[in-house]
Amino acid sequence: MPFIPHTEEEVAQMLAAIGVDDIEALFDEIPADIRCQSLDDIPPAATEMEVTREVQQMAERDAGALNFIGAGAYEHHIPAAVWQLTTRGEFYTAYTPYQAEASQGTLQLIYEYQTMMAGLTGMDVSNASLYDGASALGEAILMAVRVHRKSKSKKVLMPTSVHPAYRATAKTVVKHQGIELVDLPIDADSGRVDPAALAAFSGEDITALVIPQPNFYGVLEQADELTAWAEGNGTLVIGLVNPFTLAILKPPGEWGANGADIVCGDGQPLGAPLSSGGPYYGILCCKQQHVRQMPGRLVGRAIDADGKQGFVLTLQAREQHIRRSRATSNICTNQGLVVTASTIHMALLGPVGLRNAAAASLANTHRLVEKAAALGITPRFSGDHFHEVALKLDQPAAPVLEKMATAGVLGGYDLGRDDAELADAILVCVTETKTDADIDRYIDALKAAQEPSAPSR
C-alpha cells in the first residue's frame, strides 16, 4: 500500500475504537446504488522504479533540439541554487501561510518578492502572484474597471500587438462582466500601435488602455506617448511587461508623466523553466491608491505580542475566504512556489546579473538579425525590438519551420498561426543562452530549410 502506513493490527485497533467492523462500514452513508464498481481503465500500480524509467524515456523523446521559440515563454539560465532551495521540503510542502507564526519563512520571502517586483516595475505595490501573465491581464482589466469608477463605458483598448493567447484569455476572464475589449490596430510597417488609430479614440470614455512592452512581435511600443495619451484622456494605463527586460527598459512606473496605474505580466523569465508552459506566475503591481482593489494575496509587515517584527497575510478583506461573493477575485491557490524560485533567482542574479543577461540577449538577437540579413532575410517590422524579432521569409514559414525542426532546430513561432498576413514571418527569440555557434547553426538550418527540397528519387 504505497504511502499508507497502517498495519492490519492498527486498522483493527482503530476500527474497534470507532466501533465498526470494517472500513467499508464508514461509507454507509453513501447510497449503495451509486457506489463505484470498477476502475478498470486505470492501469495497475507501478513502482517508483517502473514509473521512473517510463517517464525518463518520455522526457528524452522530446529533448535535444535547439530552441529559438519565445512568444511568451523564454529560455534563460537559472542558477542551480534556485530550484535546489525551492524544492526544500519546508518551502515545497508547506500550505498557504495562514498561520503566520508557523510560516515566517514563506511570508518573509513573499514580502521580499513584493519589494523586488515593485522595484523592477517601478510601481508602489506588488501582490503575491496570480496564475500567469495571460490571466493576470484579465484580472488587471477587471481591477481597472473597479478602480476607475468614473468611467462608465467599461471599454478597454487592446492593441493587436498583444500576445494572441493573452487576448483570448483576457476575453475569457472579463467577458461575463459587460466589459468590452476594443481592438487597437498596429501600424503594419513599424509593428507597434498606430498613433492615428489611438487618436481616433480621443475624447471617448475609455476605461483603460493596455500597453504591451515589448509587444508580441518583440517590438518596443512608444510607451511614454501612449501613456501621455491615456493621461490626457482620463484613461487608466495597464502595462503588460516582460519583467526580464526591465533591467534595461524604462519601467512602467516611469512611463509618461505619472506612470502606469496597473502592471501585469508573466514572471516566467525570472527563474521558471519552460516546462511545457507552466507553472509560471502572473505579476500584478499597482499604484498605492489602488491597493484595496487588488486581487490576490498580499503580505505585510506586522508586530507581534513581544513587539518583534514579522510578516502576515494582510488586507484579507479583499479575498474570497473573507468577502466571498464581494471579493476582488475568486483566486485562492496562487503560484507561490514559483514566486519562491523567482525571488531566489532575482537575489542570485542581482541588478548587474539581470542587466547583463538582458544585454547579452539583446546583443545575441542583433547578431542573428545581422547574419540572417546575409541570407536576404530581414525583420518584418521596422520598430526597435528587444530579444525577439519577426523575420520575413520569401515563402510560407510553416514548412520552413518544419524542416528546421527535423534538423534539430526549433526555429521560432509561425506568425501565420494567428494572422494570415504574416504567414511568411517567423518570430525568433535569442536569449543569453545562445552561443555564436548556436546562432550559426540556426542560420545554416534556416538556409537549408529555405531551399527547395531535392526531388525524392
Partner: protein, 482 residues
Amino acid sequence: MLIFEHSTPGRRATAQAPATTAEIDLPAQFLRRSDTGLPEVSEMQAVRHYTRLSQKNFSIDTHFYPLGSCTMKYNPRACNSLAMLPGLLQRHPLAPESHSQGFLQMMFELQEMLKAVTGMAGVSLTPMAGAQGEFAGIAMIRAYHDDRGDAARTEILVPDAAHGTNPATAIMCGYKVKEIPTDEQGDVDLAALKAAVGPQTAGLMLTNPSTLGVFERNIMEIGRIVHEAGGLLYYDGANLNAILGKVRPGDMGFDVIHMNLHKTFSTPHGGGGPGSGAVGVAERLMPYRPVPVIARDGGRYRWLTEDDLPKTMGRLSAFGGNAGVLIRAYIYMRMLGASGMPRVAEFATLNANYLEQRLRDAGFEAAFPDRRASHEFIITLKKQAKELKVTAMDFAKRLLDYGYHAPTTYFPLLVPECLLIEPTETESKEEIDGFIEAMIAIQREAETDPDTVRSAPHTMPNRRFDEVTAARTPDLKWQAGE
C-alpha cells in the same frame, strides 16, 4: 533580517552574470534610468538566507498538518525529481508536436485516468487551481445555457457551507448568488432548495462530502430537483480525497466538476501554489471545455484548440496550464494505480473517524455527532470559549507549540468556534495519537492555566501578531534606507 539588509552596493560575487561588453543600442526614450532595487549579495549569502528562512516554516515534510479542506498529505519525492528532468523542463510550450509526443502522451493518459476515476466524459487539464476550475465550470454552464438560447438563467445556488471561491466564482461569471441553508444534520435543506430553484436557476455548486465533513446523503434527490428546474450540477472537487474510487461525481449526477490535483493527487501546495484545477464534464458539456485539450489520433497525440472546439468557454492561460503540476499528478496516479485509488478514501476516512471518536471520548464536542465523518470532521469549542474563554484560535496556536500544525479554524462559517480537522490517509496512527494527546493536554491547560493557551504560541519565531494594525497601515515592501 531581509535579503536587502544583507546587500552591499557594488558586490559582484556571482558566477551567474554573463560577461557582456555589448552596448545597449536602443533609443534613450526606452531605457531605464532608475535602480531596480534588487539586492547585491553573494551566492552563499542568498543560499544561507533562504535556507534559514525555509527552516521557519511548518510543512508536510516536517510536521503533521491536519488542515481541513486542504488535504495536506505526503507529496512523493519521485514526483518532484521526475517532473524536474531536464527533458521535461526544457520543452517549450510551443514546440512542434513532433517534439512533444512524450509530454502529450503523459497528459493524454492523465486525462483518461481522471475520467475513469470521476466518471466524467471528458477532462481538460488547463485550469491552474481549483478556483480557476470553478470559473471554467460555471462558464461552461453559462455557455451551455446561452448556446440553447436559455438566457433567463441568472442565478447560481450555493450552500452556506460552501468555500468562498464558489460564490466569488459565480459573480465573476456574471451570475447572482443565492445561498441555500444547511439542515441540523449537515445536509442541504431540501425544502429551501426546492423553494429556491426555478427558471432563473443556472446551476448549483456543491462539495460532496461538504466542508462540514459529512457526505450529502440526498445527493440524488438534489440532482433531480436542480435538473428538473433546468439547472446544472457543479461539483467542487476539493474533497474528492474522501470518496476517491468509492463513488464518482459522474455517477452522483454532476454535470461538471473540478479536481484539485494539489489535494487529492498529491502535488505539493508549495506555500500557496501552484495547483491544478482540472475540470471534467458530462457528455452535454463536451463542446464547451476550455482549450487546449489533448487528443489521440491513431498513434499520435495532438492539441485540440478553438478550431476543434469552436464552442469552447475559452482559454484560461497563455499555454496549457501548470504542466509541471500535471506531471506530478500523473506520476502519483501511476504509482497508486487502480487498486490505490479507493485505498486513499478508505484510509483517509478511517483516520478521520478514529481521530473524531477519540476526541469525543476525551470530551470534545463534535459538530455533527450523529454523522459519520468523511475524510474530515468538525470539533466545536464553543463550550470552551464560553466557559473558559479559550477560543478555537487559542487551541490552534497552542498546537503549534506542541509540534502540530493547526487545523482549519473558523471555517465553515456556520459552526461557531470550529476546528475542521483532516488527517489524510498518509498519517500513521502514531502521529494521530500524538495529536490527540496534545489536544487533551491543551484542554487541561485551558482549565488550569488558560493564559498559557491564550498567549500561545510560545516557541515559534514570532508570537501572535497585531493583524489589525497591519491591515490599517499596510507595509507591503521594504524601503531602501530603512
